[in-house]
């Protein structure tokens, strides 16, 4: 057992908690979406009158678990138990009726409807269709609910007119306003400032003291330290820490559990002292990142490190035009590179390896070959005429090189595993001739160990071929092993610059602002 896991073992709960019955417990939950395994055996036990924090990086499976707990999704395997009795939730209505109330991460408000109606959305959704409006629907009732989170808006205003923070508070107020056994809060403070967070925590403590079990999901470890009684950690769909008393686990340990061990990539030879190819100056996107300035050389792999919310992912995306930028400039080989326009970026020789496969990467229904050649169509054609042979000649060798399995270029992309899909997406960029810059966003997320190694090698190959490579990864070990240099970002700014080899702990310290 590694030292990390020894420490986790030592932090396990003992004593009183094991005796009281859990308010809600989930055991061995498994859930897959097509080729992606979101949860591979997650376990969670929520007890009454306590705040239980759940942490994990993007893609760890937190939101999926939340949806299963509140009945929005059904698990492929695993059991739910409410109190003493097994629980089967066919829909959110069942959960709400059973006393489990969700406050979702991505707001589930209806923009056209008034604040009052949104506050009463659960009531409106439940009950016979021909019933009249719920009882507590006067503006005074609404204001009372809003007061719990300190929000003062006209209850008759349509929710779509409120600011993001106000909407988040309405979503929270909706959850707090019901008596419930279990309250699930998924990233409730994302858009809130300090004063609002304080008020929210006060409300949470009141609810906890009344006996409700509160599940609090957040990536802000500082807040966890403030509000949580116990902590669990999810990584890659599995529970790596189950309900330890928060006082017994340091933030450092939590982060290490969250981002875990990556695969040891081969040592990358130091880059030749080549010319600088990418220069970033004053790059700013308000509320996300500010004043970023750095440069990357040909053949160099630069790692952007940062926890969720640090702006590192968005910054990497912005290099390829996939995230809008308000101020600042990008220069590629001395030429200005347009921002916010992936088409122009592509024309300039910039490639993007997107992190969210299903949403932003894969072309469902089309073959692996078509998926892989999507960015090189111009090169493979003469005067608009697509040459099939040229396409196969360019792409097939890459499929072999990255060991795409099964080796069937005509097979629809959905039939490939997540790791192989990711390889195909990588080929889309790698096959570009004259690629000057490759931005890879979480290139090995949800990918098995073997495929990870292959993708790492491919990135190194791209760099060796003269491209500048910028990688964002939530897996710090992977990032440090892969990159020549690492920039650590926190709260939208670059807070530290490292040359590898560097100890992961040093980078960690920079990410969290703690002393190394």
């Amino acid at each position: 057992m590694s030292s990390l896991e020894q420490r986790a073992e030592a932090a396990r709960p003992v004593g009183t908690w094991d005796e009281a019955p859990a308010a809600l417990s989930a055991t061995g939950v498994v859930k897959s979406f097509g080729a992606t395994r979101a949860l591979r055996g997650a376990t969670l036990a929520l007890y009454p009158a306590e705040v239980h924090a759940l942490v994990g990086e993007n893609g760890a499976g937190k939101s999926t678990l939340v949806k299963i707990l509140v009945g929005a999704l059904q698990p492929d395997a695993g059991t739910l138990v409410l109190g003493e009795a097994p629980l089967h939730l066919g829909s959110v209505r069942d959960a709400v009726a059973a006393g489990i109330v969700p406050v979702y991460q991505h707001l589930t408000l209806m923009p056209h409807l008034s604040v009052t109606e949104n506050l009463l959305a659960f009531e409106l959704a439940a009950g016979s269709p021909l019933r009249g409006r719920p009882r507590r629907c006067t503006p005074a009732d609404a204001r009372a609910m809003l007061a719990q989170v300190g929000l003062d808006v006209d209850p008759r205003a349509p929710v779509g007119r409120l600011s993001l923070a106000e909407r988040q508070l309405v979503e929270i107020a909706r959850g707090l306003g019901r008596d419930c056994k279990v309250l699930v809060l998924d990233e409730p403070t994302a858009a809130l400032h300090r004063g609002e967070v304080d008020r929210l925590f006060a409300a949470i403590r009141r609810i906890r003291d009344r006996g409700t079990a509160v599940l609090f999901i957040s990536h802000k470890l500082g807040e966890i330290e403030e509000i949580a009684d116990r902590v669990s950690v999810l990584r890659d769909g599995q529970s790596v820490l189950e309900g330890s008393p928060r006082a017994a686990v340091s933030s450092r340990t939590l982060i290490e559990l969250m981002i875990g061990h990556g695969v040891e990539a081969g040592r990358i030879p130091a880059p030749p002292a080549d010319a600088e190819t990418l220069r970033v100056e004053g790059l700013t996107a308000p509320g996300v990142f500010a004043d970023l300035a750095f440069s990357v050389r040909r053949g160099e792999i630069l790692g952007l490190a940062g926890l969720v919310g640090s702006g590192a992912l968005e910054a990497a995306a912005a290099l390829a035009g996939a995230f809008p930028v308000r101020q600042g400039s990008l220069r590629l080989d001395g030429q200005p590179l347009p921002t916010g326009d992936p088409v122009a970026a592509h024309r300039a020789g910039v490639a993007l390896l997107p992190g969210e496969r299903e949403a932003a990467g894969v072309f469902p229904g089309l073959s692996a070959l078509t998926n892989a050649s999507a960015s090189t169509l111009g090169e493979l054609a003469s005067f608009g005429w697509l040459r099939g042979r040229r396409e196969r000649e360019r792409i097939l060798p890459w499929l072999h090189r990255l060991s795409v399995n099964p080796m069937a270029p005509g097979l629809p992309i959905e039939r490939f595993s997540g790791g192989n899909q990711q390889k195909v997406l990588a080929i889309r960029s790698l096959a570009m001739a004259g690629m000057k810059l490759l931005a890879a966003l979480d290139p090995t997320r949800g990918v098995d160990v073997g495929a990870r190694a292959v993708i790492h090698e491919a990135l190194a190959h791209a760099a060796a071929g003269g491209a500048a490579v910028v990688v964002y990864s939530s897996d710090l070990e992977e990032l440090v092993a892969l990159s020549h240099r690492v920039l650590a970002m926190r709260e939208g700014r670059i807070v530290a610059r490292f040359s590898t080899p560097v100890a992961t702990s040093s980078v960690l310290a920079a990410l969290t602002g703690a002393a190394p």
Binding site: V92, P111, A121, L124, R133, A157, R161, A191, R194
Partner: protein
């Protein structure tokens, strides 16, 4: 990244200006002004009553259409279903006397429910499903009427009072439509099912996540639209004294245009029955006024078509104004 600097708490009491609610009254007033200028007879009481009598049928269908548009879909089958209802109704009344009258409502609701099931449970696009039922209903109507003959009511059955009756000088059909509009207003504002339609249209995924039974609610929406088509068929039958298998084509687009002028966005989530009532009034006035002035009915058609496209543009413009510049929908 945490929200930047602490903000002052705002006492937000603003009443947002709802651009959409303004369109219908403005259209009616503006339209009447223009039409009155073109032909002075337009502004007479007799003509006004004329319009009031005619537009009842359109209003009823438009109200049903509104329910479906609010959910983000639309129903192209309303005209054909109304025609089918008149044919079935005529035969039913001939066979059963007044007891046969409910058949019209039943036929309409059934066709609507079929639409709803196709769309909600089998996930067929509303375009296709309602197009299919439009053709199917029309075909069935032709079939049941021996290839398109009108189905005359028995001489001893007289539904004229229903279709042409007056109450204190106000045309009966107008009152029927007004009554239905009141019912629809209560339904959309106070009944849970009505509110759920708006929830689905506003943000379907969110509606599901708070526990709205989306599929059965959608079936209700289309069934109610079909029901209103059936009721419109009842009025048609009363006025014509016969089942009309070929009637009603084009009614659906007028209904959609009425709803759009009445403030319904084709993307769903908004629209109120009183405004749609006004919208139908506008469309009918337009047809009446243009007819009076001898202007080609095709201008009206042109206007109708443009209204639908303009509705999309208007929607786009209002979203732009409301939300400020936004990223294209294909972005990170």
């Amino acid at each position: 990244m945490a929200a930047a600097e602490p903000r002052l708490e705002r006492l937000v009491t603003r009443r947002p200006l709802d651009y959409r609610a303004v369109v219908a009254p403005v259209a009616v007033v503006g339209g009447w002004a223009v039409l009155a200028l073109m032909n002075p007879y337009f502004l007479t009481v007799a003509n006004g009553l004329n319009i009031a009598g005619q537009f009842g049928i359109l209003a009823i269908v438009a109200l049903g259409e509104l329910l479906v548009i609010v959910t983000g879909g639309f129903d192209l089958s309303v005209g054909s279903v109304a025609a089918l209802a008149t044919v079935v109704g005529a035969r039913a009344v001939n066979a059963l006397g007044p007891l046969g009258l409910p058949a019209l409502a039943l036929v309409g609701a059934l066709c609507g429910a079929v639409n709803g099931v196709l769309i909600a449970h089998f996930r067929v696009q509303p375009v296709i499903a309602t197009l299919g039922s439009m053709l199917g209903a029309r075909g069935l109507a032709l079939l049941l009427s021996d290839g398109g003959q009108t189905v005359a009511l028995r001489p001893d059955i007289d539904l004229m009072p229903l279709g042409y009756g007056h109450v204190a000088g106000i045309p009966g059909t107008f009152l029927w439509a007004a009554g239905l509009a009141v019912a629809a207003t209560v339904f959309t504002r106070r009944i849970r099912l009505g509110r759920r339609l708006y929830m689905i249209g506003s943000h379907a995924a969110a509606a599901e996540l708070v526990g709205v039974p989306v599929r059965s609610t959608l079936v209700w929406a289309y069934a109610l639209s079909g029901l209103s088509s059936g009721l419109a068929g009842l009025l048609l039958l009363s006025r014509a004294g016969a089942g009309l298998p070929t009637e009603g084509s084009g009614l659906e687009l007028s209904a959609i245009a009425s709803a759009v002028i009445g403030g319904a966005a084709l993307t769903g989530g908004t629209g109120s029955p009183p405004s749609v009532f006004l919208g139908a009034f506008f469309i009918q006035s337009l047809l009446n006024g243009l007819n009076l002035s001898g202007i080609s009915p095709f201008v009206a058609e042109l206007v109708l078509g443009s209204v639908i496209v303009l509705a999309g543009l208007l929607d786009f413009a209002m979203r732009r104004i409301g939300d400020g510049p936004r990223r294209p929908s294909w972005g990170y």
